[in-house]
């Protein structure tokens, strides 16, 4: 495309199908202890 460049991203809709195993890290546990951010968590299955 000439006008638009698209980044590779995980399709959220697709993730509905296989997701929800709950094995990934609890948000607050990861480092911060004050704020919830999930965008940076890694899916355990994507490793």
């Amino acid at each position: 495309m000439k006008h638009i460049k698209t980044l590779v991203t995980r399709n959220l809709k697709e993730s509905m199908k296989k997701g929800g195993c709950g094995e990934c890290q609890t948000s607050c546990q990861s480092a911060c202890k004050t704020s919830c951010t999930v965008g940076n968590q890694r899916c355990e299955k994507a490793k």
Partner: protein, 467 residues
């Protein structure tokens, strides 16, 4: 729903529901909102859309800055937009709401505990929500017996989850180091029989950190959180010893050694910024200059009456700081001298599934804090507030009503989150912040939200810049 913004010279478009990120030229940036309106009206025929866009550009936008593009160019841009729409990467509908119809019915397991190993501290940090380790209560050290019951409780309530997280927290956990070591050993002994895997984290202010502790931590702790605020004067002002003298000079070399011994991975130097250092990007860069590669510096969680708490009028300055930091990080990265800033980390390719993104921070449900005497609270921020006492490690959760209330801390249960572009990255914000400011764990804390949105914008920009 799309979110469109400019940052550091990039025109970025986030398609909220698909999670797609596009970097677009000025022309597409200008016409996108109009195409979105047309889509909402159900006009998807390419010819009709092109015509409507051209029409609009030639007439209605007369008062605005002109779009300098030939008609063919504009048509081409519209075609690209429609192509992405057809692929589900633009204007994707919100299909998730239906999946989360009744939050209270959602069954949850406990998979993470924050163990308050020591309600005592050798520092007297000004903003400490633990009130110098005392947490509105008596000083106490967790006994091995209580810790053991906590781990048993976790294993028993974790269902079929394999990965369990345990954070040794305080006060200052190194003041009760022997118990930490024995609990790690006990946890490991449970792993094979129950098919569990413990991931331990140690959070420390560094005062007592030594080689023996480091060696153990490097073997057993998946993560090490080292508390330091940044520049010496900032750190020493907020993190003094009880006698008033600063702790910076003592801990910096220890932390540098710790970071190196972990090969600059699986640790964070973790600082807090307050109203006293609104120019916190300087503190982040200071930590980077000290050689740290994993940095997390975050806004304080404090009651509004505290003189150091962040206020609405501080927002423009703080947003500017995030932008400045992002631009500088990019510059350093390109020079081969990059570092990670926790709040700008975003995993677009391998990030969590929607289920995770919708479920909130987990406090009160899958994540609980345990006091030295074994009481359970929704998270470390609520410890000591009797209203939130949920049970204890012996008898388990006694107040299911509290747990159910925390199940509603997520983006579809909160009015404001529903229309927020950051909802799949933020997951609904911090319940403790909401409670501090609004007396309701299910409220949204607007100052926090503004900052969160800014961070998501910066994080995505940094990804776009890698392209």
């Amino acid at each position: 729903m799309i979110h469109r913004y400019k940052n550091n010279g990039y025109n970025i478009v986030l398609d909220v529901n698909s999670g797609s990120v596009h970097v677009v030229d000025e022309l597409v940036y200008r016409i996108l909102p109009f195409v979105e309106d047309l889509m909402k009206e159900g006009r998807k025929d390419a010819g009709a859309v092109k015509e409507a866009v051209l029409d609009r550009i030639h007439s209605a936008w007369a008062g605005e800055e002109p779009v300098n593009a030939a008609d063919e160019e504009i048509s081409e841009a519209v075609e690209e937009i429609l192509e992405l729409e057809a692929e589900g990467l633009l204007f994707a509908p919100d299909i998730y709401e239906n999946y989360v119809y009744d939050f209270k019915k959602r069954r949850t397991v406990v998979k993470a505990l924050c163990l308050h190993i020591a309600h005592d501290c050798n520092l007297a940090c000004k903003y400490c929500f633990a009130e110098e380790g005392e947490y509105h209560g008596r000083r106490a050290l967790m006994s091995f017996e209580v810790g053991k019951k906590a781990l048993d409780f976790l294993v028993a309530n974790s269902g079929n989850r394999v990965n369990l997280e345990v954070d040794f927290f305080g006060g200052e956990p190194l003041m009760n180091w022997d118990v930490v070591k024995r609990l790690v050993e006990y946890g490991r002994s449970l792993e094979p029989a129950y098919n569990k895997k413990f991931r331990f984290t140690l959070t420390t202010n560094g005062v007592l950190l030594n080689e023996e502790i480091l060696e153990f931590a490097n073997k057993e702790m998946s993560n090490l959180v080292l508390s330091i605020d940044g520049r010496k004067q900032i750190h020493d002002r907020m993190r003094p010893f009880r006698g008033g003298q600063g702790s910076y000079d003592l801990i910096v070399p220890k932390f540098q050694r710790a970071a190196e011994s972990r090969e600059q991975l699986n640790y964070y130097v973790r600082g807090t910024f307050t109203r006293n250092n609104l120019d916190f990007s300087e503190d982040v860069l200071h930590l980077a200059d000290l050689g740290f590669k994993q940095i997390s510096v975050e806004p304080v969680v404090a009651p509004p009456e505290a003189d150091y708490s962040i206020r609405e009028e501080d927002l423009p300055k703080l947003k500017e700081e995030y932008d400045k930091l992002a631009a500088e990080m990019l510059r350093r990265k390109r020079e081969g001298n990059g570092f990670q800033f926790f709040h700008f980390m975003i995993d677009l390719e391998g990030g969590p599934c929607v289920a995770k993104r919708l479920s909130g921070c987990g406090s009160g449900t899958e994540y609980l804090a345990v006091t030295p005497w074994g009481d359970l609270y929704p998270c470390h921020q609520f410890v000591g507030n009797e209203k939130f006492l949920m049970g204890n490690v012996e008898e388990g959760i006694l107040r299911e009503d509290i747990r159910d209330q925390f199940k509603c801390c997520n983006v579809y249960a909160k009015e404001k989150c529903r229309d927020c572009f950051a909802r799949f990255y933020c997951s609904g914000g911090c319940a403790a912040n909401a409670y501090n400011f609004h007396g309701d764990v299910n409220a949204t804390y607007d100052v926090g939200c503004e900052l969160e949105r800014k961070r998501v914008e910066c994080a995505i920009m940094l990804k776009a810049a890698e392209m």
